[in-house]
């Protein structure tokens, strides 16, 4: 019984994954992820002639059954990796993801160091020197005389 349930569950997962893979890419999604090489905004924000040509290309390739990756690869082959709104995750493109993280980490370390340094600098003020007993007695006498 358990084996049958497991098999059914695995079968269901396989069907679901095939269903996801078979979903055609949406033109609107691709247009938001690709950049017009002339105006350098995403295609959905541009009506430049080349952007319109690229949108038509995307629609034609979707109709021909291409996957998102195939369409992106075809456009990169024409216009280079600059056409991708998000830099690729490998090679030199990885730097675009890692450098901001590294900058935030370095900034956090510098801020932590400065805070620590400032908090150490604020030491309690030194206690006031005690009055010389001779002088204190003299002041007391003078005050008593003044009161008297």
């Amino acid at each position: 019984m358990i084996r049958l349930a497991t098999l059914l569950a695995l079968g269901g997962l396989a069907v679901a994954s095939v269903g996801v893979a078979a979903n055609p890419p949406r033109a609107a999604d691709l247009e938001a992820e690709l950049v017009c090489p002339v105006c350098e905004t995403t295609l959905d924000q541009s009506n430049a002639p080349i952007a319109e040509k690229m949108k038509a290309f995307i629609r034609a390739r979707i109709a021909a059954g291409d996957s998102e990756e195939q369409i992106k690869d075809a456009l990169v082959a024409q216009f280079g990796t600059g056409v991708l709104a998000k830099p690729p995750g490998g090679g030199f493109g990885l730097l675009a993801w890692l450098l901001p993280l590294a900058a935030v980490l370095v900034g956090a370390v510098v801020v932590a160091f400065l805070i620590r340094s400032w908090s150490r600098r604020r030491e309690p003020p030194p206690p006031a020197d005690k009055l010389d007993p001779k002088l204190e007695r003299l002041v007391d006498e003078e005050l008593a005389r003044f009161d008297g």
Binding site: V38, F79, F113
Partner: protein
């Protein structure tokens, strides 16, 4: 120890700011692309940035410096550019009229689909060498800000004149002819 570390951190911060300033100054001093045309048109004859690009009209690549010894009319165009369509037949005419004198017209198609560019060349019967720069990296060196732009380069690889927009009026065509004479001299 803390004081020493603080000094080191301050030194690093100052160093980074100084480095950024140096980078900014360097980029400003070396970014000659933007005024390449201006410099050429006031007679400075700046060097034409070299490039090697794949050919659209045949297999292989073309290196600009391989044309040293000839004058070059470098036309930056794209199939989606309206004025490029008006200018194309005239550039073919310029090529046919001057090729025997040592002039090469080179069409540099940028930010375009290869297939569209080839269709464009077929429609306007362009027979001069055509190269392709899809990402448009090469044209940055020339400071190209729009399409079309044309540069006349002399036999030594120096830019004699530049034209922003189509070379379509009488005045512009006369200036182009004069620049070609100058480049061939």
């Amino acid at each position: 120890m803390t004081t020493r570390l603080r000094f080191v951190a301050q030194g690093v911060a100052i160093g980074l700011v100084a480095l950024l300033f140096i980078l900014l100054a360097w980029s400003l001093l070396h970014d000659e692309g933007g005024d390449l045309m201006k410099r050429a048109n006031r007679g400075d004859r700046p060097s034409a940035p070299d490039f090697t690009l794949e050919r659209l009209d045949e297999k292989g690549a073309l290196q600009l410096s391989s044309l040293r010894g000839k004058a070059v009319v470098l036309n930056v165009w794209a199939s989606w550019c309206g004025p490029c369509k008006e200018e194309a037949p005239y550039l073919e005419e310029v090529w046919q009229r001057n090729r025997h004198r040592g002039l090469v017209v080179v069409g540099l198609d940028a930010k375009d689909f290869r297939a569209d560019a080839r269709r464009f060349a077929g429609r306007y019967e362009l027979s001069f060498p055509l190269v392709y720069d899809g990402p448009g990296n090469t044209i940055d060196g020339y400071g190209v800000t729009g399409f079309p732009e044309t540069f006349v380069i002399d036999r030594e690889g120096k830019v004699v004149a530049g034209f922003a927009g189509a070379v379509d009026g009488d005045e512009e065509r006369t200036r182009l002819q004069s620049a070609i004479q100058d480049a061939l001299a």
